[in-house]
């Protein structure tokens, strides 16, 4: 199978909002920032996201206010287009170019871009000036452009336009270049370039005074130099001020030029008086290191963007008035990606020592949970406690975390947190210090029973331990706490990973090449499975109808065992970096490391043919991914995108970008929604609440749903050039549909699950259970319904055909299928009863989920 045209990998949710400096509008009411492929407009006073400007097909790489019309903003993207937005409506111009890395607008309104310039066969980046034709057409091709600078830095902080747009200052490494645009004269000022001096002197950023001819540059050693007389080859002069102890990351003059703002690693905003640099003010404790500083055109608001994907709005130079927090992209996500069943939030490492709960639907951080509960000291070479593992149980009522510090000896502690309904957050229940003698390689909760749950921790010290909640004596006042229930080992081998079956009746723990299967009820070793060579790297049970399969990945092979026969079902040569089972379907996603890139296969353990495969998904290995259940199952008709219907797959690339898949219908729907005419006055901040109300008001005249949808359809088709607040209209619209559907659906589900129960019981010996409701959603599009016999036959045929692997992985030769695999397994049909029942709780989950979202909204506010 080839890469699918109808599904593409996008940045959606959790994108970096600190990738480029944000823009504050003329009236200081809106803050515009890049966010992956779209542009977000926030209100500076309420922190609310007001619009999503969508249209770019690639990462947005630059954002500047149009100097000639302060209600418009330019954006450029890696897709080679520049778009001019009216904050609320759509595309005005379109320029076809190569990769655009950043853009600048001088005070005169000339547009400059940084893009690759070929020179002497080496790719360098050049500053290119562009003449945008004053056309009213929506799509404009610009051909003529002139190269101003041959080699510039790609970072927009390294280019600044001087007073009146008369000159450009560009810094790169140890050289400051000043180019006078009118006179076409060029000055070069170099700082000491030898040895150790070079690294310390290197320029990091540049800013030009808005009124005077003064250029401020920041340096790697924390100095700020103010250059004057720079139209002289020799008589130029600079003064130096020094406060930062490490590199200056951002510099910005206030609009009147009375103050200079600087920021760096110290997370302190320093305000220097221009002309009296000895006097300075500080705004400390901004949370994390400052990446960019922006001042509103009237000077009343400062805005700092930070390395932890946060934008802080500062009012009157002194007060932090708003904080817009995106998904924190730390140096490395140590924990697995998880989805909190209550809030549907993504859970992962956040700030140092914290876990963050991030709502992907609303693209907003819900809250941070302080795990380590220790002061973080910002200093290199200092060993600090880090949250390395975390696990949530299936109902979201328990959270287990492992924190580790590897100073001289490894210090580990395991913490268990109970969800407190009252405070709507996790409360520390038990702290187990030194739970193991070695680092913990994996922890997982058993998914099973209602009131008691088991946590299994696997450590490199050769043991795995099961922890259980023990009820104290009723006489004691103490709360229930966790204690060790069982310590298991296997031939003193090092265990690596563990996995519970979907019903919690089996626990698989891998010890080097051996997979041991245990019964959590009695802690008996049931069986061992092994497929040398290669130690097991990842384990995963099949879900639903495939729950009899256990998948294991070694560094060379992907193996699938049938637990009923305790034999290898099939295996194939794949370098799997991550195995992930979708909790809502049989699908299993395998991320495979090819040469420097990662391929993705989505398949069912029972079927040899993958549903979906994409090669060269991204560069680097993917080691963290998660299936996030959708609020609303999609009704995608394309076979290749069906696997995305119930859950959405998010994954983290090695440079900590969160990517996901967007199907075509979904995209179309988003685009259509985003093109809706904005009917709301700018003066009122658009909140979802407002939208909901406004929509209801609109909906009043038309009573039936069909009319309504027609009306919406019209409004989508109408007014193409305008862009709209996509997400909120959509979400509210969708939620209104939800309401309607919810009235019907629960009964449906109920019925189905009942039917299923019957099915599974009677099918006990015939067909593996398959969630009927899913096929009822999708089955119509699959074509003619097959009889069970036909099904079985077809599957048998498919099973024998492993040629798909060859087609996919040309580099990896196909492993010769063992005899066990070729044999059509007769035993396979015998599904154990507890497994067959699994679908039942799964089906019922959607309903409580909808309910839990509401209280979560409240928790975000404090």
């Amino acid at each position: 199978m080839v890469a699918h045209a109808d599904t593409r990998v996008v940045h959606r949710g959790g994108s970096k909002i600190n990738f480029r400096a944000p823009v504050i509008t003329q009236d200081s009411r809106f803050l515009i920032c890049v966010s992956g492929e779209c542009i977000k407009v926030f209100s500076t006073s309420t922190e609310e996201c007001i619009h999503h400007l969508q249209g770019h097909k690639e990462l947005v790489t630059g954002l500047v206010l149009n100097p000639s019309n302060h209600l418009q903003v330019f954006s450029c993207s890696e897709d080679g287009t520049i778009r001019l937005w009216d904050f609320t409506d759509g595309i005005l111009i379109r320029v076809t170019l190569l990769r655009i890395l950043s853009m600048h607008v001088s005070a005169k309104g000339d547009v400059f871009l940084v893009m690759p310039v070929k020179r002497n066969k080496k790719e360098k980046f050049g500053l290119v000036s562009l003449n945008l034709p004053p056309s009213v057409e929506q799509h404009v091709m610009v051909k003529g452009h002139t190269i101003v600078f041959q080699s510039v830095s790609t970072d927009p902080k390294c280019i600044a336009f001087g007073q009146g747009g008369e000159y450009v200052a560009s810094v790169k490494d140890n050289v400051l270049h000043v180019y006078f645009l009118n006179k076409k004269t060029f000055y070069r000022f170099a700082l000491g370039t030898s040895g150790e001096m070079a690294a310390r002197n290197a320029f990091t950023c540049v800013a030009c005074h808005p009124k005077d001819d003064c250029i401020a540059t920041g340096h790697g050693d924390g100095k700020i130099r103010l250059w004057r007389n720079f139209n002289q080859e020799k008589e130029y002069t600079f003064s130096t001020v020094h406060w930062h102890h490490s590199g200056v990351n951002a510099l910005c003059f206030t609009p009147e030029g009375t103050n200079l703002l600087s920021g760096g690693l110290e997370s302190v905003l320093v305000q220097w008086r221009y002309g009296q640099e000895g006097q300075k003010d500080f705004l400390p404790r901004l949370g994390s290191s400052i990446k960019e500083i922006v001042v509103s055109p009237d000077g009343s608001l400062f805005c700092t963007s930070h390395t932890d994907n946060k934008i802080t709005v500062i009012k009157n130079c002194t007060k932090v008035s708003a904080v817009i927090q995106g998904l924190v992209h730390g140096d490395g996500v140590k924990t697995a990606l998880m989805v909190d069943p209550r809030t549907k939030a993504l859970v992962l490492n956040g700030k140092p020592g914290h876990l963050q709960f991030y709502s992907l639907q609303r693209d907003q951080q819900l809250y941070n949970l302080d795990i380590v509960q220790q002061e973080y000291i910002n200093q290199s070479n200092l060993d600090q406690f880090e949250v390395v593992k975390a696990a949530l149980d299936s109902r979201g009522s328990w959270l287990a975390t492992v924190e580790q510090r590897s100073a001289k000896e490894v210090e580990i502690s395991l913490k268990l947190w109970a969800f407190d309904e009252h405070t709507q957050s996790f409360v520390l229940n038990t702290t187990i210090s030194a739970p193991h003698d070695g680092p913990i390689s994996e922890i997982c909760f058993s998914p099973s029973s209602q009131n008691s749950t088991t946590l299994v921790s696997v450590s490199l010290d050769g043991h795995f331990k099961a922890w259980q909640l023990t009820q104290p004596d009723p006489s004691d006042d103490e709360e229930a706490s966790w204690s060790c229930d069982f310590v298991g080992d296997y031939h003193s081998l090092e265990p690596k990973c563990c996995c519970f079956s979907a019903d919690g009746s089996l626990l698989a723990v891998s010890f080097k090449e051996v997979v041991t299967v245990w019964s959590p009820a009695s802690w008996d070793l049931l069986t061992t499975l092994s497929q040398p060579p290669g130690a097991i790297q990842d384990l995963c049970f099949g879900r639903l109808s495939c729950s009899k399969y256990l998948l294991g990945a070694t560094d060379k092979n992907l193996c699938c065992w049938n637990l009923l026969t305790c034999s290898l079902e099939w295996s194939t040569a794949l370098d799997v970096s991550l195995l992930l089972a979708d909790p809502l379907s049989e699908n299993v996603a395998a991320f495979c490391g090819a040469e420097k890139t990662t391929d993705l296969f989505v398949f069912r353990p029972s079927e040899p043919r993958p549903h979906f495969s994409q090669q060269a998904l991204c560069t680097g290995r993917v080691t963290r991914a998660v299936f996030a259940p959708r609020d609303e199952p999609l009704d995608g008709c394309e076979e290749s995108s069906q696997w995305l219907n119930r859950s959405q797959l998010y994954f983290l690339t090695h440079n900590m970008e969160l990517l996901t898949f967007l199907t075509k219908p979904e995209e179309e729907r988003l685009m259509a929604l985003s093109k809706q005419v904005p009917t709301i006055d700018d003066s009122v901040a658009m909140t979802p609440f407002y939208l909901l109300l406004g929509k209801h008001r609109k909906r009043v005249p038309c009573n039936d749903e069909a009319d309504d949808s027609r009306l919406w359809g019209e409004s989508w088709n109408f007014g193409v050039p305008n862009l709209a607040p996509g997400n909120h209209v959509m979400s509210s619209c969708v939620s209104s549909m939800c309401l309607l559907r919810d009235e019907e659906q629960p009964t449906e589900v109920e019925m189905e699950s009942e039917k299923e129960e019957e099915d599974s019981e009677e099918e006990g010996a015939s067909v593996p259970p398959r969630p009927e409701h899913e096929s009822s959603d999708t089955g119509a599009k699959l074509g003619p319904v097959l009889t069970k016999a036909e099904h079985r036959e077809l599957r048998g045929v498919k099973k024998l055909d492993y040629s798909w692997i060859r087609g996919l992985v040309t580099s990896n030769p196909v492993v010769n299928t063992t005899k066990q695999m070729v044999k059509t397994p007769k035993q396979r049909v015998k599904t154990p009863k507890p497994m067959a029942k699994t679908p039942k709780p799964m089906v019922k989950t959607p309903k409580p989920m909808v309910k839990t979202t509401k209280p979560m909204v409240e928790t975000t506010n404090p």
Partner: protein
């Protein structure tokens, strides 16, 4: 090049004295530097910052301010006197009592006709320069507090005076104050403390710039009496200000040891209105910067840490040239140590005492302190170690040394009355004669016998030269005597005939060291600009080839001048010379270094094999093992005496600097 037994001497605890005032004469490019012990030194900036003249100080005379008026140099101090110096004979010419208590400052007008002094009692007094003297002219309106600083307007009609808490502008003709400008006190706890205006500068556009004890540099409009701009430079005092000749750049020296530059530049590139902007900060001192001079190409600063620092402005000099090298002068450019070659004793000269040490012993064998107020200007030890002579501004003394085992006894030997003072003293190689340079470059010859010194003859150069001799050297065979004076002239006398022999062709740079070859009767002179020559009536072959080929670039770029030349007794081809940072043996038999070769290649040579070593070796063999050298002398027994004075030792003996907040402390 051979091996030496080295005596590494570190017990000479010479302490350079703090620099208290400086004055620069733009026309002659001479810098006068006054030190806390009253010494006044003249540096020639046209000649590689060579210390040309030293006028020894006097007990009880401190110099608070120096000023040039044309070619004349004046100083004032807290003893209330104005002193004019005799620059030819290196003595004070006369003193005039100012009758106003301690005098804090002196300043001459740009025409060089009037001197203004600021006194403790709050008066500004004007003196008129007359030939060979100065004459009191007038008193200005008396101020309430001491006058700490004065500056003439270039036109000579107005004077700005900085006092406590205030700056006054006087009209010179009427003597009345025309403006009063109040200086703010420091904020906070120091609010009650008066602000001392340590320095003022009056610019031709009627701008007055002041530096005060609250750490401010302030720009004033003297016509309106208003403050234009305040730059807070330091938490401590701004001690000194200096402005460039074109009034486009200003330096301010602070108690933190930093020098801050201000430049008169326009905020917008295309517009003419300019303002004073703080630009560079130079940090070259550990202690207070007390005195500052802004030459056309460099900032010259001096202060309590006794270093004289010349920091060139890179935009004013050609990069890589000799002028662009920053230079730090700590030690005097003449020898304070003399060696008794045969006896193995050393004589150390301090301003107020002498110390005699014997090599191999750990304590001073004899110390004699000076009688009288005048400081020692020169001292010498005879090669045999039997005689010691020293001179101050008022007397010359000769002693005979007698050794009994551990101690040394000195007996004073009377010198004839002819010799009232001397600039330079020198014994002949056989210790039978003493040469003393006297006024007008003349040299008096004394014959030394058992216990008396007899005047023999006066040697005079042919031309009517007048400047003082600063170097004297005799040949080992006692036939020749060479003298060098600060006019760059070197005269050679025949001692057998007791008459003038010849004058070496005058070279543009002053000789910093000189010696006569023991066998070849050649004079070796090392000039302050690192060139050097050899001659005996005419340049020798080697000298000509040296002149033809030119010296190696990195040799010419050395900053410190060579202070001593001597010869190896074993190999006549070897010349041993040293400066502050290295000593060098020049082998005349080897070829001169090529332009592109490495000058200091001794370490490299050591690692090479024999053949390559021969190929790569050249005449200059430089040893940089010893640092901060005061003297390198070759003893009779072929051992080397190296007198070092580590700068760290000097720094630890200085008083504690002002407290500065250091990062992470």
């Amino acid at each position: 090049m051979g091996e030496f037994k080295v005596h590494r001497v570190r017990f000479f605890d010479y302490m350079p004295s703090a620099i208290s005032a400086m004055a620069f004469n733009v026309h002659t490019e001479r810098l006068a530097v006054a030190r806390a012990d009253g010494t006044v030194e003249i540096y020639n900036f046209a000649d590689n910052c060579f210390q040309e003249k030293v006028i020894p100080g006097k007990d009880g005379r401190t110099v608070e301010a120096l000023c040039w008026a044309g070619q004349r140099l004046f100083s004032t101090g807290l003893n209330g006197e104005i002193v004019e110096y005799d620059l030819e004979n290196l003595r004070s010419k006369y003193t005039v009592e100012a009758y106003g208590g301690p005098v804090w400052t002196i300043s001459s007008n740009s025409q060089g006709t009037q001197l203004a002094v600021g006194c403790e009692d709050g008066t500004v007094k004007i003196f008129e320069l007359v030939e060979d003297s100065i004459q009191f002219q007038s008193n200005f309106d008396r101020l309430k507090s001491r006058v700490l600083s004065l500056s003439w307007h270039p036109s000579g009609t107005q004077i700005a005076a900085g006092t406590m808490d205030m700056i006054r502008v006087f009209n010179v003709t009427t003597g009345h104050a025309t403006q009063r400008m109040m200086v703010d006190r420091a904020a906070g706890a120091n609010k009650k403390k008066e602000v001392a205006v340590w320095s003022v500068v009056f610019l031709s556009d009627n701008t007055v710039i002041s530096g005060d004890s609250a750490g401010k540099v302030q720009v004033w409009d003297s016509q309106m009496g208003t403050l234009i701009r305040t730059h807070l430079v330091t938490k401590w005092d701004v001690m000194a200000l200096a402005v460039s000749r074109d009034e486009s750049s200003l330096l301010a020296g602070t108690s933190e040891g930093s020098v801050v530059q201000f430049q008169f530049i326009s905020a917008r590139l295309d517009q003419p209105d300019k303002e004073w902007q703080r630009t560079r900060t130079l940090r070259s001192h550990s202690h207070d910067v007390r005195a500052l001079v802004h030459t056309d190409t460099a900032a010259v600063s001096g202060g309590n840490d006794a270093h004289l620092v010349v920091r060139p402005f890179m935009e004013k000099v050609v990069k890589g040239s000799k002028e662009s090298a920053p230079c730090k002068i700590t030690f005097p450019h003449r020898s304070l140590v003399s060696c008794g070659k045969k006896a193995g004793i050393l004589l150390f000269q301090f301003p107020e005492r002498l110390e005699v040490w014997r090599l191999g012993e750990t304590h001073c064998v004899y110390a004699c302190s000076l009688q009288g107020d005048d400081h020692i200007c020169c001292s010498t030890l005879s090669p045999c170690g039997g005689w010691l002579a020293y001179a101050s501004a008022s007397s010359v003394r000769l002693f005979q040394l007698q050794y009994d085992n551990d101690s040394i006894a000195l007996t004073k030997v009377k010198l004839p009355k002819v010799l009232r003072w001397a600039n330079q003293l020198c014994f002949s190689a056989d210790s039978s004669r003493l040469f003393a340079s006297f006024s007008q470059s003349s040299v008096l010859v004394f014959a030394l016998s058992k216990s008396e010194a007899k005047y023999v003859h006066t040697l005079k150069p042919k031309s009517g030269e007048t400047t003082a001799v600063h170097l004297m050297s005799t040949s080992d065979d006692g036939q020749w005597l060479a003298t060098a004076n600060s006019d760059c002239e070197v005269h050679v006398y025949n001692l057998k005939k007791l008459k003038y022999h010849c004058t070496v062709p005058v070279y543009g740079s002053c000789p910093s060291a000189m010696a006569i070859h023991p066998t070849g009767s050649n004079v070796v002179m090392v000039h302050a600009d690192q060139k050097y020559s050899l001659e005996q009536k005419e340049y020798t072959e080697w000298s000509r080839s040296l002149a033809k080929k030119g010296l190696h670039g990195s040799w010419l770029n050395r900053v410190a001048p060579v202070t001593h030349v001597s010869f190896s007794a074993s190999n006549p081809d070897y010349i041993i010379l040293h400066d502050m940072n290295m000593f060098c043996i020049i082998d005349k038999s080897l070829p001169l270094p090529e332009k592109d070769s490495d000058l200091c290649n001794q370490n490299q040579l050591r690692s090479m094999n024999e053949a390559a070593r021969v190929k790569d070796s050249h005449a200059f063999k430089i040893c940089e093992m010893f640092k901060n050298l005061l003297c390198v002398g070759l003893m009779e027994d072929h051992s080397l005496v190296v007198v070092e004075r580590p700068l760290l030792d000097i720094a630890t003996r200085l008083p504690a600097p002002v407290r500065q907040k250091k990062f992470a402390t």
